[in-house]
């Protein structure tokens, strides 16, 4: 029996999936051949795949990269764009969370697409990115700018096109993901949908993001929590710092090492240094300051 695959777009790719992809816009009207296919498979035979070093949850074999999530699934991502999913749970909704996050990130890496852990909003004809470590406030910042009327382009991961003279990013129409406290402090509880994952106080939030548009990147802000900063401090960074910033904010930077993609990311960083303004933003992690922080960002972009 043929299983009907649903069609989505994300990160500039057309995706066909046997699994629901939470947070992404699903539409039959999406045209073009699929560049990624998520298909279900029977349980993987062979040696126990959990016998890895603590903390290591993926391995590569030739043109295939396997990603293990205990009690959820094994994902086998190939350079051809086929992703075989070996479920280890009966609740398939748990699987979708990884398909739109880590697995998509791995697939983008395998296609040699520069992918940054960031959110982004549209400013004029360009894009402004917010990167930073997990919990730095990337999605919250995008949501706060959405409330000021700016279109959200990306959340969590930004796929970049650095093949031409400019550096651009792809919008993918995905929903924002916000923690419960951020929802409450931003007054967005009415836009909250289902939790991102069972038992986690983080929710999908409707965004005004449109799928399949791209925009040249005009500024990048790395969000840093600072216990000392009483007022937000915006620091322009040197070319070397900017390049290091791009590298450390890559989506799953360890995969860059594994795939030996240093040159790709170095060249992307050089393009971004040429085409955009790059800043480090130090501020207290305090919702009461968010308006001041946004003013500071808007003055700089």
């Amino acid at each position: 029996m043929d299983i009907k695959l649903k069609r989505y777009t994300s990160a500039g790719l057309v995706i066909e999936s046997a699994f629901d992809l939470p947070g992404l816009d699903c539409a039959e009207s999406i045209e073009g051949a699929a560049q990624l296919q998520y298909i279900g498979a029977e349980h993987m035979p062979g040696p126990n795949h959990h016998h890895l070093s603590p903390g290591v949850n993926w391995s590569s074999e030739g043109e295939t990269l396997k990603f293990f999530v205990p009690d959820v699934a094994v994902f086998e991502v190939s350079t051809s764009g086929i992703v075989r999913v070996f479920p280890e749970t009966k609740d398939l909704s748990d699987i979708g969370v990884f398909l739109v996050g880590s697995v998509l990130g791995i697939a983008l890496h395998l296609r040699r697409i520069v992918t940054i852990h960031a959110s982004a909003v549209k400013v004029g004809d360009g894009a402004v990115m917010f990167c930073g470590e997990s919990g730095a406030g990337k999605s919250t910042m995008a949501a706060a700018f959405q409330m000021r009327g700016f279109e959200v382009l990306c959340d969590d991961l930004c796929a970049l096109d650095v093949s031409r003279d400019t550096a651009a990013l792809y919008s993918d129409g995905r929903k924002l993901k916000l923690w419960g406290d951020a929802l409450e402090r931003l007054g967005l509880e009415n836009l909250a949908e289902k939790p991102v994952q069972r038992g986690v106080d983080k929710y999908f939030v409707s965004s005004n993001s449109k799928r399949s548009s791209s925009a040249p990147i005009r500024a990048i802000f790395e969000l840093k929590k600072s216990g000392e900063a009483t007022t937000p401090k915006l620091v322009p960074v040197s070319a070397a710092e900017a390049a290091a910033l791009i590298h450390r904010n890559a989506y799953r930077p360890s995969i860059i090492e594994q795939l030996d993609d240093h040159k790709l990311y170095f060249e992307a960083a050089v393009r971004l240094v040429h085409c955009s303004s790059i800043y480090r933003l130090e501020r207290a992690h305090d919702f009461d300051q968010i308006e001041n922080v946004m003013e500071e960002i808007q003055r700089a972009w």
Partner: protein, 101 residues
């Protein structure tokens, strides 16, 4: 690691570099660290490509910037020592000196 005026240094393999405006931007693939050189540091980095002795590099700095010779010598030796520590340069092997004429 120390550098003497008689040394000739060469760029080590395992890094990627490009010019960004007035800076040279460099990634050491081995360490994952980024470096940028501008001004005199960039001059010295370019001189290394010409396989000059450290003494000649110092002399070039003195001529170009009209700087006190002892300051030029100490600063150049310190900078080259940093490059050696980060394995961005290496001493030219004696064999290649004799073989290369």
């Amino acid at each position: 690691m120390s550098v003497s005026l008689e040394d000739v240094l060469v760029k080590a393999s395992g890094h990627i570099e490009t010019d960004v405006g007035q800076e040279t931007l460099l990634l050491s693939v081995k360490s994952g660290r980024y470096f940028s050189f501008d001004g005199t540091a960039r001059d010295i980095w370019v001189s290394i490509d010409r396989e000059m002795s450290v003494r000649d590099i110092v002399e070039e700095q003195i001529q170009k910037y009209d700087v006190d010779p002892s300051v030029a010598r100490d600063d150049t030796l310190a900078f080259l020592g940093d490059l050696l520590d980060h394995q961005l340069v290496a001493h030219r092997q004696v064999d290649s000196l004799s073989n290369g004429g």
